[in-house]
Amino acid sequence: MSALKLENVHKSFGDHEVLRGIDLDVAEHEVVCLIGASGSGKSTLLRCVNLLEPLDAGRIWLGDEEITRRGVDVNAVRQRIGIVFQAFNLFPHMTVLRNVTLAPRDVLKLPRAEAEARALDLLRRFGLESRRDEYPDRLSGGQQQRVAIVRALAMRPELMLLDEVTSALDPELVAEVLNVIRELAEGGMTMVIATHEMSFARDIANRVCFLEDGQILEEGPPNEIFASPREPRTQQFLERIIEAGRL
């Protein structure tokens, strides 16, 4: 059974059609990387899966539940999907620990002690335990993004969506965040990752999808896509990436 399935997903903002018929099937424990130029629809795709944007057409299943059907409980769906944003989006008025325990306590109704134990376990695992009482603005970008990942993991999601999580980071901070994601992948987490980090995608992905103009133009195992892309436009995109020294 697939963990996530998209069927003919369409989404427009005004006159601009951002997603033009996306079909995607993600197996359990699979890591899928979405690559493509800015504006190709990667972020919108992830926001649609998390129901942050309503679809214009198409259907999405999470496990065996169709989450785009009428009357679906969006809050219940979102509990099962963790999303991490490019700009971290931590809650600035809460400590690290409170950021991580907010949803487990308010949504899952866990007792405080249990929620904190769960949060501290995760913070320890990712080397953030000493930062538990800090406010986000006192952390480095890399630390903030790791906290954002921990905050999503605290809900024990069955699927993680990562939306260019290293794009807002200084270059020297990228590795610590990528290592966290690598660890998640090794732990068997199902993930859909929109990224500009091509070598990371080549390393970690089971499958790479190249998006252009709101469509998946080409997909396959990373060594196939990066070594011998079939589509001329995939070739062009990768050539530009290589010229920029990013692969």
Binding site: N75, A76, R78, Q79, F91, A103, D106, V107, Y135
Partner: protein, 292 residues
């Protein structure tokens, strides 16, 4: 710890500069203080000389600045002032709640909530458009005349209702500005974790919004506190009305000064209290962090 370079972010320094409000000594150290002192003394001397040399001064001095007048009217006015303070406190609590409800209604997204948003807009426009003194007169004289059962008929009650309605219009706009200043990505982050719209509002958006608007909220409350004197137009004996009664009996105006002093005496602590709240918030955030 704090090196020379980050002295400016030192919480203690920031707290002190906040307490001093707009007072800035441009030159550093003793020289700056000396210059500030000297210029203040010169300025005051010029003002005092100009006022006391004016032709009307002896008359003004007799009717306004008679210490006997001021001090003998003070106890009565202070007793009447208790009414202003009570009215202010009760209204303030009601306004904080009602205005928040209105602001939240107005920020509801989607076409379903259009009627509620429209009502909130109309309310805010009306409440801010009609002069406060008119609202108080209309409600104070009009509402008791309806003789509704189960509703108080005291003019004081209706004057309070008038103040609440007017100020909720202003305060709801302040709240709304705060809500809109919180970036939409904050709501997206909260909703993506499975929080409901209400939970996101309560835990994530409002705490940030309200923190940002405490100073403008305070401004509105200083205005409210002064406007409690408008109940005098309904014949209710508050501090202003009491000082008027005194003034008419003695043909002097010292009692007005006594009333003014009372109003100022509670406005200033209110301003300092807000400064303290802001500073405390800042201090907490900095104390909680290991490096500074």
């Amino acid at each position: 710890m704090a090196s020379e370079g980050d002295r400016r972010s030192d919480p203690e320094v920031e707290r002190r500069s906040r307490l001093l409000g707009g007072l800035h000594f441009e030159g550093e150290g003793a020289r700056g203080v000396a210059i500030a002192l000297l210029s203040t003394v010169v300025f005051l001397a010029v003002v005092i000389v100009a006022v006391t040399q004016s032709t009307g001064w002896p008359e003004v001095k007799r009717s306004f600045f008679d210490w006997g007048d001021i001090s003998s009217s003070f106890p009565d006015i202070a007793r009447a002032f208790v009414l202003n303070v009570k009215l202010f406190l009760v209204c303030e609590v009601c306004i904080l709640i009602l205005a928040l409800v209105i602001a939240v209604l107005r920020s509801l997204p989607g076409p379903v909530f259009f009627p509620l948003r429209a009502l909130a807009v109309i309310y805010a426009d009306l409440a801010r458009g009609v002069p406060t003194i008119l609202v108080i007169a209309l409600l104070g004289f009009g509402a008791p005349a309806l003789q509704l059962t189960g509703v108080p008929r005291s003019r004081l009650f209706w004057a309070g209702v008038g103040l609440i309605l007017v100020y909720s219009g202003y305060v709801s706009e302040v709240y709304r500005a705060g809500i809109e200043s919180v970036h939409p990505s904050q709501e997206a982050a909260a909703r993506s974790l499975g929080l409901s719209r209400f939970q996101a509002l309560r835990r994530v958006i409002l705490p940030q919004a309200i923190r940002r608007v405490i100073p403008p909220l305070l401004n509105d409350f200083i205005g409210l506190q002064k406007d409690t004197a408008l109940v005098a137009t309904l014949g209710i004996v508050d501090a202003f009305n009491q000082s008027q009664i005194y003034s008419q009996a003695t043909f002097t105006y010292g009692s007005y000064l006594a009333a003014a002093a009372l109003f100022v005496a509670i406005t200033i602590p209110l301003a300092r209290f807000t400064d303290w709240l802001i500073a405390r918030d800042r201090r907490r955030r900095q104390a909680a962090s290991g490096f500074a």
